[in-house]
């Protein structure tokens, strides 16, 4: 059974007013447990509106959201239960930090869940480890940290709730390559260790290519495509038309193909690129020898 199912979801901002804009238009989507889903789409295509529906921050105007087969607005007594199961990390999450120490801030979510002291402590330590937050950082004020460190503390605050579904809205915006790599590999690690599901919204095709199993492409409030990363990037022309672009390495391979070199165009990560180039070389040599 899918962990998250979206049925005929539509949402219009300023409904019935002049200047009404349709943000979501009849979205249908099913996400299988344990997948790492990348979400791409042009600015203003409805990505953020969609994910704010996942944990019940926005109530659907029409359609339903099913979490583990249960309608989040009908079958739960308290919408907070949904928010604990679907952890949502906003853009620039470091701006939500407020406690005196990082420890207390990470403990905010678990405390709201009504857990006991020991369990809270265990979860804070676990989340801190996943996010690379050191003991020293835990004891100190979050406001003394650097931007990237703050962000990791904020993400740890969500992970401490141990959500089944972790949704991240551009967690790497404004970070240097090393910081991006660190956060994404930690998220991937969390997903693989706990078997949870991750939804990652990103504008970086490289990040999506490197981490996502499945990719959701959105256009004008609709699902344009939801498929494996391979298949999505094979559709490079349409992605380019949407102004989305493709990973640099895929661009190289498309150009090679155009120049008459017989390589596949489903290449989107560097290791796979190396492999297919070696294969091509091998095949060429074979031809020569024959």
């Amino acid at each position: 059974m899918s962990i998250l199912k979206v049925e005929n979801l539509s949402y219009t901002y300023n409904e019935g007013m002049p200047g009404a804009t349709k943000a979501l238009d009849n979205i249908n989507l099913e996400i299988e447990p344990g997948t790492f889903v990348g979400v791409i789409g042009h600015t203003g295509c409805g990505k953020s509106t969609l994910i704010s529906h996942f944990n019940g921050l926005t109530k659907p105007q029409s359609g339903r959201i099913l979490l583990d087969g249960r309608d989040i607005w009908k079958d739960y007594d308290d919408i907070r239960q949904v928010r604990f199961s679907v952890g949502l990390v906003f853009q620039y999450p470091e701006y939500q930090l407020f406690e005196e120490t990082c420890y207390k801030d990470i403990a905010f979510g678990p405390k709201n869940m009504g857990l006991n002291e020991e369990e809270i402590d265990r979860r804070v330590k676990m989340a801190a480890e996943f996010c690379g937050v050191t003991e020293k950082m835990l004891a100190g004020s979050p406001f003394d940290l650097s931007g990237g460190q703050k962000r990791r503390v904020a993400i740890a605050g969500i992970i401490a709730m141990m959500p089944k579904l972790l949704v991240l809205d551009e967690p790497c915006a404004g970070l240097d390559p090393e910081g991006r790599e660190l956060i994404l590999s930690q998220v991937k690690n969390y997903q693989q260790t706990t078997g949870s599901t991750v939804i990652l919204v990103s504008h970086s095709m490289e990040d999506i290519a490197n981490y996502a199993d499945m990719v959701l492409v959105m256009e004008n409030g609709q699902v344009y495509n939801y498929d494996t990363t391979e298949n999505v990037f094979a559709d490079a022309e349409n992605l380019a038309r949407m102004g989305l672009g493709i990973p640099d390495i895929t661009k190289v391979f498309l150009k090679l193909k155009e120049m008459g070199v017989d390589v596949g165009t489903d290449v989107y990560t560097i290791p796979y690129a190396v492999k297919s180039l070696l294969k091509y070389k091998e095949a060429k040599r074979g031809e020569k020898n024959a």
Binding site: R83, Y95, Q96, F108, G109, M161
Partner: protein, 271 residues
């Protein structure tokens, strides 16, 4: 929820009301408030009502906006009505229900009171609806210029107002974002006892203040980078100039106000 706040909202347009010189618009609004308080008879009230409606019609601001700006004041109006309805005593009661007595004087008073409040709100909101904050503070600065003589920092005050008004929508947006982020961590914002509600504000207010300070610092740096050094010797991009149209419209308003005031001579006051 927070987006419903209409105070200080501006609706750009090209109507005569929009184009009227900001200084004159402020003066007219202030005079309107004074006239509204001095005039205490029904014909005057009706005339000012017509005046406000005509201004709205002229400015092209939808009347729906009126409803929106009155809505937050409903509790105040209801409170005034109830208070006055039972506590103003006249000679012969209109209705008598046990110990409750309602006098015709009270009803009259309430009608005048409500229309007064409504006209004041509608009249003054028209100023902000049709004037951009920049024009508004420019106008205020120009009007307060004489205060410079007594070493009052007019320009700095105007600049502070511009900045404050400019950041209201930004901070509202920021508050919504932070509220959503804390709600996602299971914060309870709208239930629980009074002390719970106060405690629930901490996770919102701390980040909000921090971001406000950060923004202030960034803005100060940006202003300094553009060599801002206060009002002295500063010239303006938008010069305020009074045109013939301005004079004409102001004259019309003045005549209307004079008529409203002169009604004092012919009609008896209600309160």
């Amino acid at each position: 929820m927070l987006k419903d706040i209409t105070i200080g909202q501006h609706f750009p347009g090209k109507s005569p009301v929009h184009n009227l010189d900001a200084r004159l618009k402020i003066v007219i609004t202030v005079l309107f408030v004074i006239v509204r308080f001095m005039s205490t008879n029904f014909p005057g009230l009706i005339l000012s009502g017509v005046f406000v409606l005509a201004m709205y019609k002229l400015s092209g601001i939808p009347l729906k906006m009126l409803k929106k700006s009155i809505k937050p004041l409903m509790p105040l109006i209801v409170f005034t009505v109830i208070l006055n309805l039972f506590f103003i005593k006249g000679e012969t009661p209109l209705i008598k229900l046990g110990f409750v007595e309602i006098y015709p004087e009270a009803v009259m008073f309430i009608i005048v009171m409500i229309s007064r409040i409504l006209l004041l709100i509608c009249g003054t909101s028209l100023l902000t609806y049709t004037t951009s904050t920049i024009a508004l503070t420019d106008g205020l600065e120009a009007l307060m210029k004489p205060l410079n003589k007594i070493n009052f920092p007019v320009h700095e005050m105007a600049m502070m107002m511009t900045i404050a008004l400019r950041f209201i929508p930004t901070l509202i947006e920021e508050t919504e974002k932070i509220m959503n982020a804390q709600k996602s961590r299971g914060a309870l914002l709208d239930s629980g006892s009074f002390s719970d509600k106060i405690k629930a504000l901490v996770p919102i207010l701390v980040p909000l203040f921090i971001s406000a300070f950060r923004r202030a610092e960034e803005l100060a740096t940006a202003m300094e980078c553009r060599c801002y050094h206060g009002g002295e010797g500063r010239t303006r991009l938008r010069q305020l100039k009074i045109t013939n149209d301005d004079i004409r419209y102001t004259a019309v308003c003045m005549v209307t106000f004079a008529v409203i005031l002169s009604m004092k001579l012919f009609f008896t006051r209600v309160i």
